[in-house]
């Protein structure tokens, strides 16, 4: 039930990063967000600001968003210095304005990383994350040849651990929050999900080597155990997945015949 006594409208000052295109210089612009209901989501608040901008004949703020229920991974900005804003384990679309106070000044910036180019305003190019999956984030199982789904029992706890890692939504917050712009949490989550399952084991060594190599090529930095990624991950993916990635990578390097 909505807590009616805390329900109110607030006014905010937004400082939003505006940038026309990838090769143009951007800057922070100031906007007033007025009469914002605290039941709104952060993105609905931007919708309201944008509708006013459109009616004033101005260019609305470009931002990525789609499902607005925290699962597609499309949305995300740095709000007051934190990827997806101040709430733990929350995507930007699920961040509600009740977490802000009247007259707050809120700074909104795009993901910043060498690997992610700004397309416009708050929209960045995250295609390097797709390239990482293409480098090995799959099990090579053509349609048609799969054995019965219950042929290989998988211990309940193993399946759960794998699912914990598989919950990654690929939003890129881990990269944005990391001082090294590392994609280790993203890669670690996929490596873990697949390495934990018996179906993923045949390709585990090849996968680890190929994904790590591609990560370096795409300009992502290295992990220095800052754990900022875990702190800002909207799905609270644990950095133990990075440890597992390191283990899988070492194992592949030391004991497998896969060429590096």
């Amino acid at each position: 039930m909505t807590n009616s006594e805390t329900k109110k409208d607030i006014n905010l000052t937004l400082k939003v990063w505006r940038q026309k295109g990838p090769d143009v210089k951007g800057k922070l612009e100031t906007y007033q967000a007025k009469n914002i209901s605290t039941d709104m989501s952060f993105l609905e608040m931007i919708d309201v600001v944008n509708e006013d901008l459109i009616l004033e004949g101005k260019d609305p703020i470009a931002f990525d968003h789609d499902c607005r229920e925290g699962i597609c991974g499309m949305c995300g900005c740095v709000v007051d210095g934190r990827a997806h804003g101040p709430e733990q384990g929350t995507t930007l679309c699920q961040l509600h304005m009740r977490h802000f106070s009247n007259n707050d000044v809120v700074v909104v910036e795009p993901w910043r990383s060498r690997a992610f180019k700004v397309i416009k305003d708050l929209v960045v190019d995250r295609s390097p994350l797709d390239k990482l999956i293409q480098a090995g984030g799959f099990i090579s199982a053509n349609v048609g040849g799969a054995p019965d789904a219950n042929a290989i029992p998988i211990p309940h706890d193993t399946a759960e651990l794998s699912m914990d890692a598989a919950a990654c939504i690929g939003c890129g917050a881990c990269v944005a929050s990391c001082p090294n712009a590392s994609a280790m949490l993203f890669v670690g989550a996929k490596i873990s999900q697949l390495a934990l399952l018996p179906q993923g084991k045949p390709e585990a060594a090849k996968r680890a080597i190929s994904m790590v190599k591609t990560m370096d090529e795409l300009g992502f930095g290295n992990c220095t155990n800052e754990a900022e990624c875990e702190a800002d991950c909207p799905k609270e993916i644990s950095i133990t997945n990075i440890a597992r990635l390191n283990r899988e990578f070492l194992k592949a390097g030391l004991f497998s015949t896969v060429a590096k």
């Binding site: 039930m1 209901s37 901008l53 459109i54 229920e69 597609c72 799959f138 099990i139 349609v143 919950a167």
Partner: protein, 638 residues
């Protein structure tokens, strides 16, 4: 003209087997000579593209989002059905088939549904092989749960994120084919037109959403897997970019649109709370396994839920439908929630909500068990509503969720336009007038992994052969000029109302008159209102920026322009169907107990509409539905 679905002869259980044998094969060496366009990267499109590439075809695939992993299939929560009978509770292919046909209120095509049930088991095998981490029991075997409209446990799930995990499975298979250079991926593209050459689908026109370029792509066949049109209602559980434009552009090129009035209003969504609201959030139907739906018996009872004693609560689903209880199908659950609220028994600030209460389940199983099953859903609810469902009952209300209608397809999933195939939610064939829970994921993957890979070959070496076309063909130039003119027109209006504002008004009209309950008078009125609104749109909409840049306001404007035309088609279809069935409830056609009353004699058909011009009436074609294997009955869940 009657429509021919080209259903193979023979007994139901043998049709698919027989048809697969009769379909012509494409020699493995020849497959690489064929180019196929797939639009959409959800469960249907992603799985189709990956599988076609595995077979050796060259595939180009397109999506609106920045990555194929974000298609709205990802938001499906509850699960996927299959007739594995792992629980030994009496399930079978036949039972899944029967439940689906009955759940669809006998308005789907028997042969398609049976095939769906047959391949359902292969889907689970394939997903496990891909590394989908389905829930498992302690012995390591797959777990199942039950879902609305079924009395067996046949639903496989990965917490409350089944759609996400299945989509990531298809996405990983697709990624592997992209790496192998068998699939070329085009992200941030909006399909704006279909290109026909001699009546065959030979390509598409897309807008590059980053640069604004209008691009032409040619192929030997086009596969649309572009999802449903629920966003016509503005507020729905669909993602913000979900739209009808791709399917509607095919309709305007001559593809028939079937049963557009069959829309599913899902019973368990978070209630609306303000005018600025941009979308509605679904709470998985699986919650009805353990949650009990109730309202206060007395409409004047405004106490908080914890203060209302057991004897003063009306568990209306359990009372009215003792054998299915809280697990009645979606259309029945939604309509009953509306009835309760119409009687003034709704709860919450707006009175447009009912309780979904977990108190008994928590007492019975413990908080831990409930948290394991639904933890992420409870968390999502608490984030949005700021109330803890472990302590206070959830409030839910129906919302637009899925559309059973879609482009008409035959048994091969080909539309009436040769070479245009339509998969997943974008077609119409499997769910009739109401879809059962956990069947959308099943259908998307069935179409993509196990149907299109066979049937498309039959077209390519059959009537579609020796018709190689490139983008130099004048048909491409003509289509892209038309698209450019349309964009220019939108940008030149310079009116006073935003696109969102028009969308809100259209959604309001459809929800009011073409939502959970409809009547002839309201539908007539809605037709006029939408037509007037469309007139105003083209005179008074304000779209900022230019066409040669990243312009989200322009993207939305084009989609809403199509919804405004399409909305009229929905209303027209609803008006012409003088019966009630599934999600289409016409108040003039109901039983004494207020249940949907079908008219099998006159309406046991698919209504497929043919475009004849924006301002002229579409032509109606009928596909008679023949039921040889199930007996048509009044659906009863009592």
């Amino acid at each position: 003209m009657p429509l021919d679905a080209k259903i193979p002869d023979g007994p139901l259980a043998e049709k698919w087997e027989k048809h697969r044998f009769e379909l012509k094969l494409v020699n493995p060496a020849n497959k690489r000579k064929y180019n196929i366009i797939v639009v959409g990267t959800g469960l249907a499109g992603g799985s189709a593209a990956a599988t076609l590439a595995e077979l050796g075809y060259n595939v180009k695939i397109f999506c609106i989002q920045d990555s194929p992993r974000r298609a709205h299939s990802i938001a499906a929560q509850g699960g996927i059905n299959a007739a594995k009978n792992y629980q030994n509770d009496g399930d079978s292919i036949w039972r899944l088939f029967y439940d689906t046909v009955k759940g669809g209120d006998f308005r789907s095509r028997e042969a398609n549904v049976y095939r769906l049930a047959q391949v359902s088991n292969n889907i689970i095998d394939q997903c496990v092989a891909q590394g989908v981490p389905f829930a498992r029991d302690y012995g390591g075997l797959l777990a199942n749960r039950s879902f609305g409209g079924a009395q067996v446990s046949r639903t496989f799930y990965a917490r409350g994120q089944t759609g996400q995990q299945l989509l990531l499975g298809a996405y990983s298979a697709l990624s592997r084919q992209i790496a192998a250079k068998k699939v070329e991926m085009f992200t941030r593209r909006d399909m704006l037109d279909l290109v026909l050459v001699d009546g065959h689908a030979k390509g598409i026109i897309v807008r590059n959403l980053v640069t604004g370029d209008i691009e032409s792509h040619a192929a030997d066949a086009v596969v649309l897997a572009t999802g449903g049109y629920g966003n016509a209602f503005n507020l729905s559980t669909n993602a913000m970019s979900s739209n009808v434009t791709a399917a509607y552009s095919a309709y305007k090129k001559g593809a028939y649109f079937a049963n557009p009035c069959f829309t599913q209003i899902h019973p368990t969504c978070i209630p609306v709370h303000g005018d600025y609201q941009s979308k509605l959030t679904l709470m998985s139907e699986s919650l009805r396994n353990d949650g009990r739906v109730w309202v206060p018996k007395d409409p004047k009872d405004k106490r908080s839920p914890g203060q209302i004693p057991e004897s003063e609560r009306d568990y209306y689903l359990e009372n009215k439908y003792p054998s299915f209880g809280n697990l009645v199908p979606r259309d029945v659950a939604s309509r009953n929630a509306k009835d309760q609220c119409d009687m003034g028994k709704g709860v919450g600030e707006t009175g447009l909500a009912v309780y979904l209460d977990f108190e008994d389940a928590i007492k019975r199983d413990g908080k831990d068990v409930i948290e394991k099953k639904y933890g992420n859903l409870f968390q999502m609810y608490e984030k949005i509503i700021d109330s803890n469902p472990y302590e206070t009952p959830m409030m839910i209300y129906p919302a637009v969720h899925y559309t059973m209608g879609g482009l008409w397809v035959d048994y091969d999933l080909m539309s009436n336009l040769p070479g245009l195939f339509v998969l997943g939610e974008a077609n119409f064939s499997d769910h009739g007038a109401n879809r059962l829970g956990a069947s959308a994921l099943m259908q998307g993957l069935a179409d993509g992994y196990f149907v299109i890979p066979y049937t498309i070959g039959g077209y390519l070496v059959g009537e579609g052969s020796d018709k190689k076309i490139s983008i130099d063909h004048p048909a491409f130039k003509e289509a892209s000029e038309k698209v450019k003119t349309g964009i220019k027109k939108l940008l030149s209006i310079g009116g006073k109302r935003t696109v969102d504002d028009f969308h809100r008004e259209l959604g309001g009209i459809l929800w009011e008159y073409c939502g959970m309950a409809r009547n002839d008078e309201g539908l007539k009125k809605a037709g006029t209102m939408i037509s007037e609104l469309r007139g105003e749109f083209w005179e008074n909409v304000s779209v900022s920026g230019s066409g040669r840049e990243f312009n989200q306001s322009l993207e939305k404007a084009g989609r809403v322009a199509d919804f405004l035309e399409f909305g009229e088609l929905m209303v027209r279809d609803a008006f012409s169907r003088k019966e009630s069935c599934g999600g289409h409830f016409n108040e003039g056609h109901q039983t004494e107990e207020n249940e949907a009353k079908r008219d099998d004699e006159n309406f046991s058909h698919v209504a497929a509409w043919e475009f004849t011009g924006v301002d002229s009436e579409p032509a109606l074609h009928k596909e008679e539905l023949v039921f040889e294997n199930v007996e048509l009955t009044q659906r009863s869940y009592k």
